[in-house]
Symmetry: C2
Subunit: 154 residues, 2 copies
Amino acid sequence: MWGTIYHSKGSIMENNTVSIDQVKTYLIDNGIHPSFQRLKIFQYLMQSKEHPTVDIMYQALCREIPTLSKTTIYNTLNLFQQCGIVMGLTIEDNEVRYDANIESHAHFKCTTCGKVYDIPFEYPELQEERINGHVIKERHFYMRGICKDCSNTS
Amino acid sequence: MWGTIYHSKGSIMENNTVSIDQVKTYLIDNGIHPSFQRLKIFQYLMQSKEHPTVDIMYQALCREIPTLSKTTIYNTLNLFQQCGIVMGLTIEDNEVRYDANIESHAHFKCTTCGKVYDIPFEYPELQEERINGHVIKERHFYMRGICKDCSNTS
DNA sequence: TTCTCTGCAAACGCTTTGCACGGAT
DNA sequence: ATCCGTGCAAAGCGTTTGCAGAGAA
């Protein structure tokens, strides 16, 4: 077998609502000054299931924060990535998507609608820390195909 | 276990030299008109082990073909991808790399020098063609870390 | 002639950089 | 007063598009 794929998930990231206070504590714990924009951006990322692009986040957040600029989103996401609390996904198409779920999981991208889904997935224990002499630091597994919604519609 | 990782590889793609005639036959078999530029681009891709970006290919090939333009490389690679004889890799950094090896394998990208290595890897038989209701068409597995050369140097 | 390939130039879109303003300590 | 976060404007860069000229059939 090749790692365990669960058909349901039990991550804490699954919560649909995350309070600003929770986010604030989380950022502080990770050494990040909790500005209003940073709080909102991280909260959005936690609550979103769609692995949003910068543009999606901008469109959504600028309704609440009309002065928000994309530069701030870029700055903030780069900061989050450096601190390891956010992961950038580059599955294809030169579009970077972001994920606040840093637990072990895989991704599924629908080639029809473009949505990216988390797939609960347990990477197996590394039997060796090297492969062909290269030291393995990260493993990424993703699938592409047609999602539930799109295959039902067609 | 999670698929088989081989520590040596036996692919036909491993040949260091591929004759233009072999490439020509291959392109024709795949329904592609074998122009000079296309032959050279595909030959380069087969012989290269580095999963080159468009820019790398351009720098290398324009020594032989001084009039070559990047547009032609883009056109050609897009054509090859549509015909399924070349694969685009988007591991990160918004840089697309190309691979003429369309056999089952994984990739390893060095975070220090940026090189991408093929890792012989056999994806297991799909036990179900769907996961969480989504129809799986492709599976991709890549690793990141520090390659042999870079870990020896440091 | 007709069709396709090629390649220059310009457009495009995402991301980063430069820099100045403003709020917080 | 100093520091740091924010956000506008411009630059940067990889890729695509428009189009005209060249070459093959």
